[in-house]
């Protein structure tokens, strides 16, 4: 399998604080990777570096063998192919659901409005929100907003989707709908990197689980290995606490 995305010796400091240390990661096409770990371990920062919303302090990131950290690299084009879904959805509050989804394809890919519209409606159907096309985001529940945000990211037809704790801001009863959409995407072969606290989901859906702590990738492997037979003490402690809560 070809490596689609490669993170090479990545580090990130915020002032004196080292948030990421020597991160190495390869993602192949169609792979679903879940990043787990305690708060403050650098999971979200890693994802934000991959999307270049934060710039690394050291190391490089390669997408399709091109170094996207190089200052001449066109980040805009890269972001068209590597989309991101945020914890707080970040929908555009003054645009309808449909306009939220259509905005980027029309502006960046110069898609005719009717084509973009048709695609947007298809995507809304896919995330189970066909009837919400013309409402404003503020009238939707958190779970519905997140599904719109996913549809909006999908409208760009990305090769890779990054999810930064997509269910963390949701009421527990709304998590299911979002996870179902993510589940379907994984089954369709979308390459995904998810930062998540949903251990059951990580176990069922991911091809690989990465455990991060203190800015390092402490352990990675197939979900069965990580969840049933973690090697590292940190992973063991973390999972013991979570399993206690979650009963996976």
């Amino acid at each position: 399998m070809n490596s689609l995305l490669k993170v090479d010796k990545l580090s990130k400091n915020f002032g004196d604080l080292e948030v990421l240390k020597d991160i190495n990661l390869e993602v192949t096409e169609g792979e679903v990777i879940c990043i787990i770990g305690p708060s403050g371990s650098g999971k979200s920062t890693l994802l934000r570096c991959i999307n270049q919303l934060e710039f690394q302090s050291g190391g490089n990131i390669y997408y399709k063998d091109k170094n996207i950290c190089h200052k001449n690299h066109d980040l805009r084009e890269y972001r068209e192919e590597v989309g991101m879904v945020f914890q707080n959805f970040n929908l555009f509050p003054m645009k309808t659901v449909l306009s939220n989804i259509m905005l980027a394809p029309v502006l960046t890919k110069k898609k005719p409005k009717d084509v973009a519209r048709k695609k947007a409606l298809e995507l809304l159907k896919k995330v189970g929100l066909s009837e919400k096309a013309h409402v404003m985001p503020s009238t939707l529940s958190g779970g519905q907003q997140q599904r719109v945000a996913i549809a909006r990211a999908l409208a760009m037809e990305p090769n890779v989707l990054l999810f930064d704790e997509p269910t963390s801001a949701l009421d527990p009863e709304l998590v299911g709908g979002v996870l179902e959409v993510l589940h379907n995407l994984a089954n369709e072969g979308m390459t995904m990197i998810l930062v998540t606290h949903e251990m059951k989901f990580a176990r069922e859906v991911s091809d690989r689980v990465i455990f991060m702590a203190d800015g390092y990738i402490v352990e990675e492997g197939k979900p069965e290995e990580i969840f049933t037979n973690p090697k590292n003490e940190r992973t063991k402690t973390f999972l013991a606490r979570i399993v206690g809560d979650d009963n996976i």
């Binding site: 972001r79 707080n88 929908l91 555009f92 003054m94 905005l103 980027a104 502006l107 760009m156």
Partner: protein, 215 residues
Amino acid sequence: MDLSFLNVLFPMLLRGFKVTLAISIFGILIGFVLGCVSGYALQCKNTFAKVIANVYIWIVRSTPIIVQALYVYFVIPKITGIDLNSNTAGIIVIFLNSGAFIAEIVRGALEGIDPGQKEAGLSLGLTPFQTLLHVIVPPAFRSMLPALFNQFIISVKDTAILSIIVVNEITKQIQNYAALSFNTIQAYTAGAVFYMIIISVLIIIQKQVERRIKG
């Protein structure tokens, strides 16, 4: 009550109104553009632009508008050799003054937008300019409307100060009438009522615009 004094005063007020209106419109329009540019500069990463905007705003905020009017009308022509008629000087005073206050309104509105909005725009492949225009500006504009209209109203009333540099706007006309007729009570009362009518119209427009934008 004898309203016959209006036969003389009202045409004068109308003449003044035309001048007030023209100076207000040009002054506020240019001031709005200047304010948007300076407000953006205040919160951007370019240090040079930031310093320029800060100095401009500091000068305007730390001097009374009456001093600014006298300076533009009497000093600038002496320094530059460019002859300014009083109406042009009036427009310059209003746009320089309103621009500085609008800049602070714009800065506040831009800074009030959740940074996640910008990130969402960029992560969708929009350019920084497209993100600003399509993602940041619409909600920022909505949030600054009340303060913006407030500044428009202040600027319209500030035109009264221009009477000191012989701009024949409403207040100047009232003063002229009072000086000619000695009817100070009628002159200044009619003048005040006239301003109240103009500002009331502005307030009605503000309510309409805000209602429409809120949807």
